[in-house]
């Protein structure tokens, strides 16, 4: 499934003193596989953008296309099932008495039958490494555990695209790392994933494609290498790229590494070769 935003504008509260143009003509594509990293800070319009991917919000102007056709042609609710949107701090919406029941909430409304729903819940909990939490009460879990359960709740709909808004927000770095590992595993399993984050380092580690959103507009889009090395300044590139790009000038053999491991290898190569 390929989602395209075609010159999408979104204005909140039009015609009132509180009018805000959150998206000012955004065009981008979510491919059928891989991880798209959307980098944006507060005020960039990232949450508004996320909600256009499953048409929770409709564009004020411009179109959202699914596999080439206007998304409005789809039956109401279909897009919300095929595109799973996980909001920031999703654990705030956990409400069932047990983890199992909460994760079953979304799939149970899809008319799959009890057995199929239970199978989905089991599989999804396993993917998220949360099978052992099935009978527990959601509010008694740790922050990281709750986050996994919340993501499982959306993933259980078996969406073709999973959108994660700031997936590691508020988690300690080690737990955040674990979660990114799960994101990679899901990507390898075939789900198309969109990670929205203000953390450049995090996006650098998981993204196959990157899009930088600023003030409601797309500032840059392409492969991580293309995007980050075009603007190696502090606000637009991860620490790895910023370090490597300083060293590239005198020593071009450093190349253009983006991820941590490849950057470490490149820099070690430099120190051993020349040092």
């Amino acid at each position: 499934m390929r989602i395209e935003l075609e010159d999408v504008r979104h204005v909140y509260a039009p015609g009132t003193p509180f009018e805000v143009e959150a998206l000012r003509g955004v065009s981008l594509a979510v491919e059928a596989d891989g991880v798209l990293g959307i980098v944006g800070g507060t005020g960039s319009g990232k949450s508004t953008l996320a909600q256009h991917l499953n048409l929770l919000l409709a564009p004020t102007s411009g179109r959202v296309l699914v596999d080439g056709a206007d998304a409005r042609m789809l039956k109401g609710g279909e897009l919300r099932r095929r595109v799973g949107l996980v909001f920031q701090h999703p654990e705030a919406a956990l409400f069932a008495p047990t983890v199992e029941e909460d994760v079953a909430f979304a799939p149970s409304r899809l008319g799959l039958g009890e057995e199929e729903t239970r199978r989905r819940v089991r599989e999804t909990l396993e993917l998220l490494g949360a099978s052992h939490l099935a009978g527990r009460a959601p509010h008694a879990l740790s922050g990281g555990e709750k986050r996994r359960v919340a993501i499982a709740g959306v993933l259980a709909m078996a969406p073709e695209v999973l959108v994660l808004d700031e997936p590691t927000a508020g988690l300690d770095p080690a737990t955040g790392e674990d979660l990114l590992g799960i994101v990679r595993a899901l990507r390898d399993g075939g789900t198309s994933i969109v990670v929205i984050s203000h953390d450049l380092d995090e996006v650098a580690e998981v993204a196959d494609r990157v899009c930088i959103l600023e003030g409601g507009e797309v500032r840059a889009a392409g492969t991580p290498e293309e995007v980050f090395y075009a603007h190696p300044e502090a606000s637009l590139a991860p620490a790895t790229v910023r370090t490597a790009s300083i060293l590239r000038d005198p020593y071009p053999e450093v190349g253009k590494p983006v991820r941590f491991e490849e950057t470490l290898a490149a820099l070690n190569g430099l120190l051993e070769g020349r040092g």
Binding site: Y12, F18, Q51, L56, R80, L85, V86, F95, F105, V154
Partner: protein, 263 residues
């Protein structure tokens, strides 16, 4: 991102009403409220309605915002009026469709009731829109403090009100976030009859309530850490001053009420 005003939220503008002492306003509102339920004649209603409209104008709060206060109540008002109109048997019969009878008394009673409720909500809205939350709760505490001698928890009540007012917009935003998250999981809030819609609210109300309790715990910790231990020995940051204009406002409110009831 919503910038909408929650029900009765403070509207920071300079106006004659904003400048009045909170205690005077609370008492005046109380008097008007009582008056609204004692008034019984058309002339009396016209008088009080005119006064309320004048006050809304004087408050410099945009009329649109005011109508926003009334929207949540509109449904209840309509329902109540309908009941009155359909089930009262007072006065002459105006329409008769078999089981359904509409009498003059029912119509008048329904209209008066509707007007009472709307005016009451408007008056309360005027109070909270023109009075800063802390000033409001300080005012409540001051007015109730004589009752402290009778072990009435005036300070605690005021503190509870302050906290409630502080968290209304926060909880409102939280409710919106949760609603969106559940919509993304397939809950359709717009479909079905009232029972279905009420059940759809469960996935929002439960986490909202659980979250609110957690907030309460954290807030309690923060308050205690900052030395809070009840009202004993506390001083006040804000300095309310009861001036001539406040006394005049009170007297005016009393006159309006008396006038409305007697007319």
């Amino acid at each position: 991102m919503t910038a909408s005003r929650s029900l009765g939220q403070f509207y920071p503008v300079a106006s004659p009403l904003h400048g009045l002492d909170a205690r005077a306003k609370i008492l005046a509102t109380g008097m008007l409220a009582v008056g609204l339920f004692l008034v019984d004649s058309v002339a009396g209603f016209l008088l009080i309605s005119a006064v309320v409209v004048l006050l809304v104008a004087a408050s410099r709060v945009p009329p649109g915002t005011f109508l926003g206060f009334l929207r949540p109540v509109a449904f209840i008002v309509a329902l109540t009026v309908l009941f009155q109109v359909l089930f009262s048997r007072e006065g002459e019969t105006l329409f008769d469709w078999g089981l359904l009878e509409v009498h003059e008394g029912g119509l008048a009673g329904g209209l008066f009731l509707a007007l009472r409720i709307l005016l009451l909500v408007s008056t309360a809205g005027l109070l909270t829109a023109t009075t800063a939350p802390v000033a409001l709760t300080d005012g409540i505490e001051d007015l109730l403090s004589p009752l402290k001698r009778l072990r009435f928890p005036a300070h605690e009540l005021a503190m509870m009100t302050t906290i409630a007012l502080r968290f209304i917009p926060t909880l409102h935003e939280e409710a919106q976030k949760i609603t969106r998250a559940q919509a993304a999981r397939g809950v359709d809030f717009s479909q079905g009859g009232p029972i279905r819609r009420a059940r759809a609210m469960l996935p929002v109300l439960v986490p909202l309530t659980v979250g609110a309790f957690r907030r309460a715990d954290e807030l309690a910790e923060a308050m205690e850490s900052r030395g809070y231990r009840g009202g004993e020995g506390r001083s006040r940051y804000r300095a309310p001053r009861f001036r001539a204009r406040d006394a005049i406002a009170l007297a005016a409110a009393a006159l309006v009420v008396v006038g409305g009831v007697l007319v």
